[in-house]
């Protein structure tokens, strides 16, 4: 058995821990199975997956990817970003702008160039920052570039001046709040409060078609899988261990000669790009992107998903993203007047009782059991180089 990545190069597939394998297998199974069950099985079949469920699951997968991106920075590098919703939303807007341009002259005012809301505001030409979005490749580039650039510039300033801990959290919050206000403005040219909506098709396929939904679902599964592998690659590399070193003892890392800000900047930017991709996949599946996604409350909620799932475990974060959102779906319908009590109670309970999150706690229990049955065997626990974040960690 390979003794972890510390002893030489390990192929990526061997660096995946058990939970990660489960995640990947579930994703492969769902990525193929769900579209199959929706498209091929008759409606009467007990295994038929209705379209609304496909859309819902696709949305969860996007949230899982978003949670993954937050876990990468928070769980492994100790950067608590309260502004990740901004990167998600920017990716979403880039996609939304493409879909908007795809509407062409099918809008209510029939203007081939201008989206309806611009016609409405008496704009006579497309603003420059909308150029190029009619091309799919350009939009996809922007999906990654815009959040990435924002994260890079923001991080470059913040990490260079060594803004850390709570201060960093608060200014990331200020960032997303400022963007929220900016995108609310109709004069910005992003549709104001209504945002972008009423999309027709993507790459020529109708967004209302079941097959398109299945394809988007599969794409989300693939994105989550690839995103997971990328994160796993990073955290199991030596760079990943440097990140954890930064999280646990930043100045020690510095005195060892590592440029902490470069590592932070790298991981923050990668994470922002992942969040942007999640946003881009989210938008065609829910059919709307609006400034509400920038609200600080949303970003805090993402952090909560990660905490619930288990910080510093990657697959745990993905699980948290799915679970909390599933809970939201379920409880907002099952007990619309009480669900906030449940959700709030859940957050408190998790922080008090399961400080390592669901996955972290299960690992802990598993560890206790294992030690009881095979005392003395003190080999390294998980395959990855990284132990879960300390319960009290953060700064």
């Amino acid at each position: 058995m390979a003794t972890g990545s510390s002893s030489g190069y390990t192929p990526l597939l061997l660096r995946i821990d058990a939970g990660g394998w489960v995640l990947l297998l579930v994703l492969i199974a769902a990525g193929i199975g769900v579209p199959y069950a929706n498209q091929m099985l008759p409606q009467e079949s007990p295994w038929h997956v209705p379209t609304w469920l496909v859309a819902l699951l696709g949305k969860y997968l996007c949230f899982a990817l978003l949670a993954l991106s937050v876990d990468l920075v928070w769980g492994f590098c100790g950067i608590l970003s309260l502004g990740h919703g901004a990167f998600f939303a920017l990716g979403g807007y880039a996609m939304g702008m493409h879909l908007m341009r795809q509407i062409g002259d099918r809008g209510v005012y029939g203007n081939p160039d201008l989206p309806d809301f611009m016609v409405f505001l008496n704009w006579d030409s497309l603003p420059w920052y909308w150029y190029g979005f009619d091309q799919f490749w350009f939009a996809m580039l922007m999906v990654m570039l815009v959040p990435g650039m924002l994260a890079f510039v923001f991080g470059w300033f913040a990490f260079r001046s060594r803004v850390t801990g709570v201060y960093l959290s608060i200014i990331t919050q200020a960032m997303t709040y400022a963007l929220l206000l900016a995108f609310f403005r109709n004069d910005m040219g992003f549709g104001g409060n209504n945002g972008l909506t009423d999309f027709k098709d993507i790459l020529g396929f109708s967004l209302q078609a079941d097959a398109t939904r299945c394809a988007l679902f599969a794409a989300s599964a693939v994105a989550l899988g690839v995103g997971y592998l990328l994160c796993r690659f990073i955290v199991t590399s030596k760079a990943g261990r440097v990140l954890v070193a930064v999280r646990d003892a930043e100045s020690r890392t510095r005195f060892l000669g590592y440029r902490v800000e470069h590592y932070k900047l790298f991981v923050f930017t990668v994470s922002a790009v992942l969040a942007g991709i999640a946003g881009a996949l989210y938008v065609p599946q829910v059919g709307i992107i609006n400034p509400g996604e920038f609200s600080p409350a949303n970003s805090i909620e993402i952090v909560v998903w990660v905490a619930v799932g288990g910080r510093g475990t990657l697959y745990g974060a993905a699980l948290g993203g799915v679970l909390v959102n599933y809970g939201k779906t379920y409880f907002t319908a099952a007990m619309p007047e009480l669900w906030l009590f449940l959700l709030g109670g859940l957050f408190i309970a998790v922080t008090l009782l399961l400080p390592r999150g669901i996955v972290g706690t299960l690992q802990l229990w598993g560890g206790v059991l294992r030690r009881r049955f095979s005392s003395g065997d003190r080999k390294r626990g998980s395959h990855g180089a990284v132990a879960p974040a300390p319960a009290g960690g953060g700064e």
Partner: protein, 254 residues
Amino acid sequence: MTTSTRDKLSTSILYVNAVTVSFDGFKALNDLSFTIDPGEMRAVIGPNGAGKTTMMDVVTGKTRPTSGDILFNGRVDLTRLDEASIARLGIGRKFQRPTVFENHTVLDNLELALAGSRTVKHSLFARLSGEARDRLDELLTIIALTDRRHQRAGALSHGEKQWLEIGMLLAQDPDLLFLDEPAAGMTDAETEQTAELLKGIAGRHSIVVVEHDMAFVRSLGVRVTVLHEGAVLAEGSMDAVQQNPRVIDVYLGR
């Protein structure tokens, strides 16, 4: 510049000249000057608040001096560099409280410290060479943690953490080492071992040991610098220093 200072400049590994650090008017270092020769081990003592920690902060780039020069190897101006660059030049530092990466294994701790490229790109695709592996084995032997190489550093005892941290410094292969109270919190036996360890590595590296424990300093048997109120009060052998009336005054007079 006098001949002697030029001389010192070119021969010394560290040249600290007239360094002053003030925080809101309080001078933590006041016109501090001293030099360390290549391969020298030096002990620095002084009462609380004498400026020992600030001195190390200034040299290792954590704090910028208000005025003064610090030259490394006679040519590099350290006052303009940050911690990481200074570390990369070959200056290592051990903190007063042992600081290791508690969630990493002993081996990973050493590997992270091992000399080599520190860039993000390199570390993303880094793989361990056989040479490096041998070096790690060697270091583990030096700090006597070979058996515990796969254990989480957080699970080590206080003394073991001190050693691990020293091991990490050695892994960096620095020219100049700053050790802040390396024997603090150790048993007598451990203290003795530590002294032996340091003596063993001196010569290949220049070492500055900041210590409270007089017995430990004596057991090192090296030149001693006494700091007081941010400046050098006395310098010489332990015996000479202990005879110095001003030193006695500072240590006993209050």
